[in-house]
Subunit: 336 residues, 2 copies
Amino acid sequence: MNGLAADARPAPLAAEAALTRAGQLVGPALDAAVARLGGELRDPVQHHLAGGGKRIRAALVLLSAAAAGATEADGLPGAVAIELVHNYSLIHDDIIDGDQERRHRPSVWAEFGIGRAIVAGDALATLATQVLLETGHAAGVRAAAALAEATQAMIEGQSIDMAFETRPAITPEECLAMEQGKTGALLSCAAAIGGILGGAPGQVVDALADFGSDLGIAFQAVDDVLGIWGEPSRTGKPVGSDLVSHKKSLPVAIALAGPASAERDELAALLAGPLFGDDLSRASAMIEATGARRAVMAVAEERLAAALAALHRVQLVPGPRAELAAVAHFVTERDQ
Amino acid sequence: MNGLAADARPAPLAAEAALTRAGQLVGPALDAAVARLGGELRDPVQHHLAGGGKRIRAALVLLSAAAAGATEADGLPGAVAIELVHNYSLIHDDIIDGDQERRHRPSVWAEFGIGRAIVAGDALATLATQVLLETGHAAGVRAAAALAEATQAMIEGQSIDMAFETRPAITPEECLAMEQGKTGALLSCAAAIGGILGGAPGQVVDALADFGSDLGIAFQAVDDVLGIWGEPSRTGKPVGSDLVSHKKSLPVAIALAGPASAERDELAALLAGPLFGDDLSRASAMIEATGARRAVMAVAEERLAAALAALHRVQLVPGPRAELAAVAHFVTERDQ
């Protein structure tokens, strides 16, 4: 995504510095939260967390708290809770999708069995609520309520994504609505609870929520492109992984949404069958030929622009606001 | 369990009336909460809830609220939340245990697949938090915090129960500690949040929590007896189901905990292998011959007595207190 709003683009270093700082702040706090779990739960969770993660959601919470005029530390319980929910969803999603690897290592269910992966995820979900309610202040309660709502939207998005797998085709609108829930809700919540914990007034929280929501769609659009055209050595997933698993991602939905044609019917038939080798590269080339890849990148650019605009709708502390923008650029320009 | 504290036993009708009333109050509220879920989640959840349930936990919440001097309706969000958590745990446990039936019907995973059963459970867990935090009052927040803590203890108990399956033997103490978490925590929480939502002072909430905790152990002890010696047409489970699945329940732990002997070694060897037909009836007879069945019933009686004593440690409204006692008798004298 080179050239994306290039004139407004801050240095990638600013984003990397913010993400590193978030990892350093949230890492020990996350470890401390997980240390409260019983041993049978802790082992699979620690296996999962040892795989790392970019801590994007944690960074959004911390930077939003700072952008609201508080310290990053004020956002810490929110950052921990968001990462707990995010990682619980990864652990459960890997079971659901049958993914045996995550970040180049065995997924939790592949290493510990489905049963232990289910309860490990359940434990993290509950721990997230505990961490926020134990803050003992009203903002923590509001953050817990916002997180529960976002978690519910995320679960619903996941349930719709699963239902898509058995449908021959979905519209781009249906796909975007699903991604809004599956990915957008938690990113939106991350920015919003940073604002809540930072003591921001309602309209600032709303603007931060809109920032996160639009960023979530942009993020997912990039993810969908990587799921078909990503470099396996970078993404850690096999080539064309979303096509192999018959995922109805946005590029597929757009490619199949055009006017009826022999090419479209051929692509639909190709995508419905088992895909490997030549079929896989032919399918991805056909999707690209419909203009779907370019259209999805356009969605990412539009949503990134909308996200950045939301940051300028309200009064925010300039430094952290610039860092939020830098992180937004960074996560929509990634190749992994 | 005839003769159990017979002189103090209220009429079973009082318990059945309280459970029926709880079902009538919580049923529509539970339906309303579930109606908020997306369709892909609602279908498996409604399939599960249509199987019914005794609503014991809901009754404990409502009666505890009334015993604290409030109305049963004041406890309603707590009753809904507790039933949501209880049913989420059943949906996930059926996956973990590979149980294809629940209440004489296909379990959720057997009917909808493992993936949909995971997210259906996840949705109910989150909905429970939402219901309590949306009450908008401080007691609802305290109830949500208590529920999260109990849910975490329940998950840990489940994780320990799973770990037991791969161990040759466990001590009765280890088994009781596991059951305290797996079953006791949620029953304890049910009674406690009834008190919290009913505005009870701390020591009353503590007494109600102790009542529920002891009742939970008594309840589980009866469950363990039914899991080996229960009548399949009543329990809805195959004969000796806990032995078939190599569950390390309390009767098994006690039977294997005695002094070393040829009989004990023979029983241990028998329980470790595949069990059906004559082996099954021989194993259950051997466990009974060790006195373990009687010992587990003694645990149930002691814990029921302790539960009833907790109700008399503090000031409670006499009518609802008598109904709590009636429900406690009822659930420890059940044959299903």
